[in-house]
Symmetry: C2
Subunit: 344 residues, 2 copies
């Protein structure tokens, strides 16, 4: 079985020759060749340059036996596409210069046309898909509505999420208007990525772990489900990632994804039981393990594979994005160990 | 029943007239009278001034019908007592100027004498206990060994905990030496607080939620249990707080505390079931709720009380420390609502 099939078959819970593996942020700072390109161009400029975005997406595929190629892009691309002024600041992350906190500000947000406002991303996907020539599938992605809304309302990384929670508690109509608009935009955005060549999509709800389960079920889950239901091509697998709250696993099946991506705060077997065996799971190695000695890395890979027990529907990944300064030799070791120790 | 009994009886799972309530960081920045004192004195100076530390601990007790008075202090007091240079920097939090990352640095750390090195804290507790005159019990506290070790090894708030995790994975003997020394110091530190008048103690493992359950069980839980087992007076209730990973609830009973303090990421009834009904639980309101409208605050209080169902062993609290700028009128509403809606 080639890298062309392994990942997509696993997403559909079909049999595979060994467990597929890819890494969140695999096109990124831990690679020298990525850093070389970033010396010449800012993060957002790189997102908007299809040739270079395609190139950095290919870099990890050339080095390692990865089973999928996620397109190099950012969660905030659709935010900028709505005309919201923002930037990605080194060491600090995304900054929204004029955070969205009123009904008037929400009403002004447009429904954007992906083929126009995010044409560069779609071109990057087309280029990447062409370069890969059907040998490795392309993954497209978007933030879930709550995570995008959090960025837009908080204005930057947040510790306590007081503005977005304040909107939920004190201005529910504004919150609903914002989330509904984001849903409409994200549906078009994901469908456009699929039309451009993405063979699977991942929806990142990176910040939803800050919520109580009651708030998540009532104020977040229905919107994420709306986005996933809006994906037209039902043959395209959808992966849902949420970080930082294992107590939500009991309800995550309801988002409508095929695969639930786990962070490292849970044992994979217990988490899979909670999510439901009708779904696949992705994960769940702590990215910090890649800073350990090779024996430890291999032991941790084996532990996760033992818990997954070669059941159909496991995609190996980290529990969060790969960290800057991760030793490249451990990345190679991890990827090869996944394939080696999961041979069917 | 008076405020003298309610909290301690609940900690021992005895019957109460209504559910006791106190708030983590109840002596803090949301109170104007606290800010007035802080205008004249830095955070660490305030910790080291028994009269003023007693005064700020009393401030919330004067304002509200709180059922316990936690002593004003900081998790890093025992770190400084070990001779490690540090400071609490406004907006940034604690900073350790020369982080502990080698066996040599660990070996140099002394076993400190609480009655000498932290005499000011013990004097604060004696003053507070005397001022309260038996009407409200004093809570003492310490960080759990892992959380203290994280600060000492990382040097400040950390996002990825790479240094402390690196110590666990790559220098296990150094990690064990550090944790063992912290255990010995924390046992003496907690016993001294009890001798000075603390009627209950809380152990904060604020950062342990960054770990996988395997790492937590193997590398953290045994040390926390060692500290709690080292408390001499077995009649003093011990509360254990951990933030950010509900998947650990299944094993938290093993730390040996009487009460498990929950964050807001779980439904209280489900969490209590996981922890085990032989334990009490504390919590679990999201501190952000206090920024909502009064009706919402009251509804959330009622929801938690309904889930606790007046079973013996519930202490009402937030899921994390009260936030700066929290509206004082909502704090008052919360405390009165807890008592009102939990009347037996």
């Amino acid at each position: 079985m080639s890298r062309a099939d392994r990942f997509l078959r696993a997403c559909k819970k079909q049999s595979v020759d060994c467990t597929p593996v890819w890494l969140m942020r695999q096109a990124g700072r831990y690679l020298n060749e990525y850093q070389e390109i970033r010396k010449k161009i800012s993060f957002m400029e790189l997102c908007k340059n299809p040739e270079l975005a395609c190139e950095v997406s290919l870099q990890p595929i050339r080095r390692f036996e990865l089973d999928a190629a996620i397109i190099f892009s950012d969660l905030l691309v659709p935010v900028e596409a709505m005309g919201v002024e923002m930037d990605i600041i080194e060491q600090k992350g995304p900054v929204i210069f004029d955070p969205i906190r009123s009904k008037a500000a929400v009403d002004k947000l447009p429904l954007f046309e992906p083929e126009e406002e995010t044409a560069y991303l779609l071109e990057s996907i087309r280029l990447l898909d062409k370069e890969l020539g059907g040998k490795v599938p392309v993954i497209g992605f978007a933030g879930a509505p709550f995570t995008i809304a959090s960025y837009m309302v908080e204005g930057s990384h947040s510790r306590n999420y007081l503005y977005i929670k304040g909107l939920i508690y004190n201005q529910p109509a504004t919150y609903d208007a914002l989330m509904s608009k984001l849903c409409a935009n994200l549906i078009g955005y994901l469908n456009a990525q699929i039309n451009a060549g993405a063979k699977a999509v991942q929806v990142f709800d990176t910040w939803a772990g800050c919520l109580s389960p009651g708030d998540y079920e009532k104020h977040v889950l229905p919107y994420t489900r709306r986005v996933i239901e809006g994906i037209t091509d039902k043959s395209v697998p959808v992966i849902h990632y949420l970080n930082g709250n294992p107590a939500l696993l009991d309800v995550l099946g309801q988002v409508g994804a095929d695969i639930i991506s786990l962070d490292w705060r849970v044992y994979l077997d217990e988490a899979w039981q909670k999510v439901g065996k009708e779904f696949g799971v992705q994960g769940n190695l702590d990215p910090a393990i890649l800073f350990a000695n090779p024996e430890e890395v291999e032991n941790r890979v084996k532990d996760i594979l033992t818990r997954a027990n070669n059941q159909p529907g496991h995609v190996f990944n980290l529990g969060h994005g790969i960290l800057p300064n991760t030793p490249v030799e451990n990345v190679e070791l991890l990827i090869n160990a996944v394939h080696k120790y999961s041979k069917r």
